[in-house]
């Protein structure tokens, strides 16, 4: 039967996909429902305009403050900017389960005794999680639509769709990173620790870099992957296709590299 690991991974991920999707969707829905009126938004934007640049950047918004006076701007700051770090938690958790999780609990031993090349385990699972990631983002988008329906607010849905879509490449990239680390390190907790550290340091570099204008911090922030997946900027200026393609290519390349790493090493040799 074609792609058994892919199909089985999808089947087993149905419940968790729904949970993750609903959790994100609930928070998105709440943001839309709590959207302040136009007058309040304008006050907010005016207030921000009076702030020094360092504070404006600390809020995670760009320098186009008129954008803040829009409903999309509020959602950009209140949801996408605030939640950025949690979106990549999903590929971190799922990427860990691709090889390291199963290796640690011993089920990989049984799986690899079946007539299945090692690379297929990685590729099929990775592909399956790309599908579940897509499903989660669709559910998230559904949460926003429901919020729009319930609150009766007018949103530029094309902008929202672009922001939601923009999450996919960086999630794909982080899953590639996690898959590679998982292929090399057999213990799930170390994989989680290493990649979580990478994410947190990236996040910190990005947040502090935003505020440290003209300092080393700003220069350092360019090595953070968050710098290139900023949904707020996407909502203001549209998708940055070079970043999208770069993340997707990097994610797949890391995954392919992990198949090689995984193929060369002993399984559960400790």
């Amino acid at each position: 039967m074609a792609l058994p690991v892919f199909r089985e991974t999808l089947r087993r991920s149905v419940a968790s996909t729904i949970y993750w999707g609903l959790a994100f969707a609930a928070l998105a829905l709440l943001t839309v429902v709590m959207l302040p009126g136009a007058e309040m938004l304008q006050t907010f934007a005016d207030f921000m305009a009076s702030m020094p640049l360092v504070v404006i950047r600390a809020m995670g918004v760009g320098e186009d403050l008129e954008f803040l006076a829009t409903a999309e701007g509020f959602i950009a700051v209140g949801f996408f900017s605030k939640m950025l770090i949690f979106f990549v938690a999903y590929p971190l958790v799922m990427g860990t389960s691709i090889s390291a999780g199963e290796e640690e609990n011993g089920s990989l031993e049984v799986l690899l005794s079946l007539p299945l090349p090692r690379w297929r385990v990685i590729v099929e699972k990775y592909a399956a999680y790309l599908v579940t990631m897509t499903a989660i983002l669709l559910i998230l988008y559904g949460g926003i639509l429901l919020g729009v329906f319930l609150a009766g607010v007018a949103l530029d849905l094309a902008v929202i769709r672009a922001a939601v879509f923009n999450l996919f490449p960086s999630m794909c990239f982080i899953m590639g990173v996690t898959t590679l680390v998982g292929a090399y390190v057999s213990q799930a907790r170390y994989v989680l620790g290493i990649v979580a550290t990478y994410i947190i340091v990236s996040f910190l570099l990005d947040v502090v870099g935003d505020m440290g204008i003209g300092t080393v911090a700003e220069n350092l922030s360019y090595i953070s992957f968050f710098r290139y997946g900023d949904s707020v900027a996407v909502m203001q200026h549209g998708l940055e296709w070079s970043s999208v393609v770069a993340f997707l290519v990097a994610g797949v390349a890391l995954m392919l590299l992990s198949t090689r790493v995984f193929d060369l090493r002993d399984i559960r040799a400790d």
């Binding site: 968790s16 949970y19 959790a23 928070l27 709440l30 943001t31 709590m34 302040p36 309040m40 006050t43 907010f44 207030f47 009076s50 702030m51 020094p52 360092v54 504070v55 600390a58 809020m59 509020f74 700051v77 209140g78 949801f79 605030k82 939640m83 949690f86 938690a89 620790g193 550290t197 947190i200 340091v201 996040f203 910190l204 947040v207 502090v208 505020m211 440290g212 204008i213 300092t215 080393v216 911090a217």
Partner: protein, 267 residues
């Protein structure tokens, strides 16, 4: 022997304690080391105050934000507390759900130790671990301030901030413990407790943005708001607030203990 589980837990988590201390210390170090000259920001302090309630939208008061230590507050006390929260979740999960799923809990509870003691000694061990991580990281942050002429940090203020972490961390710990004892399955417990942390963080931020009564309500149901990270730097410790949070944590711990005492293990 009384204290054996406590010591075992401390020893077993020695490595995790080192890693978390390093990670949080890095936060403090980085926040202090790169903090810019805040002269420009100071000029806006009066302006910010004039905006009244809306000035809270950044999650910290203007007074805090316009000081050099305010920058450290914003980075160190805010973001590091988010990661501390996940540490508390991981720690609490390891106590029952994690060990139960790995089959370790069965034989541990076959030892001549009451279940309650098993839970409480480990909880106390994690309180000590949180204190170690918090105080060492605070000390590193304070030492780092000597590297940046723009930042001047008062040792006792940082010490207070470190102490202020503990009741809220224990609250997250106790809530997670309660969840893990009730739901039993490790992954489900992680998911629920993780959502509790993320939703609290999110609601606090959203409450800041929304403002007004609705915003106050959103902040009110988030433990991040009650943690009062900003005010500790200006007004010092708020013992009443800390005791209230500790009392809620104790209540959750009691509920977790009760549930743990009554339920089946490892089925």
């Amino acid at each position: 022997m009384i204290g054996a589980i406590f010591r075992g837990c401390l020893q077993g988590n020695a490595r995790a304690t080192v890693y978390w201390t390093l990670a949080i210390s890095f936060f403090g170090f980085y926040a202090v080391a790169i903090a810019p000259d805040y002269e420009g920001v100071r000029q806006y302090a009066t302006l910010l105050e004039s905006f009244g309630p809306i000035s809270t939208l950044l999650g910290v008061s203007a007074e805090v934000l316009s000081s050099s230590s305010g920058f450290v507050t914003f980075i160190y006390l805010d973001y590091s507390f988010l990661y501390y929260s996940f540490f508390a979740v991981i720690a609490a999960i390891s106590i029952s759900a994690g060990e139960e799923e790995h089959g370790i809990l069965d034989w541990q509870l076959s030892l001549p130790v009451p279940r309650i003691r098993f839970l409480w000694e480990r909880t106390f061990a994690f309180l000590v671990i949180f204190a170690i991580v918090s105080f060492v990281s605070g000390a590193v942050t304070w030492f780092s301030s000597f590297l940046n002429a723009n930042v001047s940090l008062d040792f006792w203020t940082i010490l207070s901030a470190s102490l202020n972490f503990l009741p809220t961390l224990m609250l997250v710990f106790a809530v997670t413990l309660w969840i893990s004892v009730v739901v039993r399955r490790r992954n489900a417990a992680i998911m629920l407790a993780g959502f509790f942390v993320v939703a609290s963080y999110f609601l606090n931020g959203l409450g800041d943005l929304v403002g007004g009564d609705a915003g106050a309500f959103l902040r009110g149901i988030s433990y991040f708001h009650h943690y009062q990270r900003g005010s500790v730097l200006i007004d010092g410790l708020n013992p009443a607030n800390m005791l209230s949070i500790a009392a809620v944590a104790a209540l959750c711990l009691a509920l977790a203990s009760l549930a743990f005492q009554r339920r089946d293990i490892g089925i």
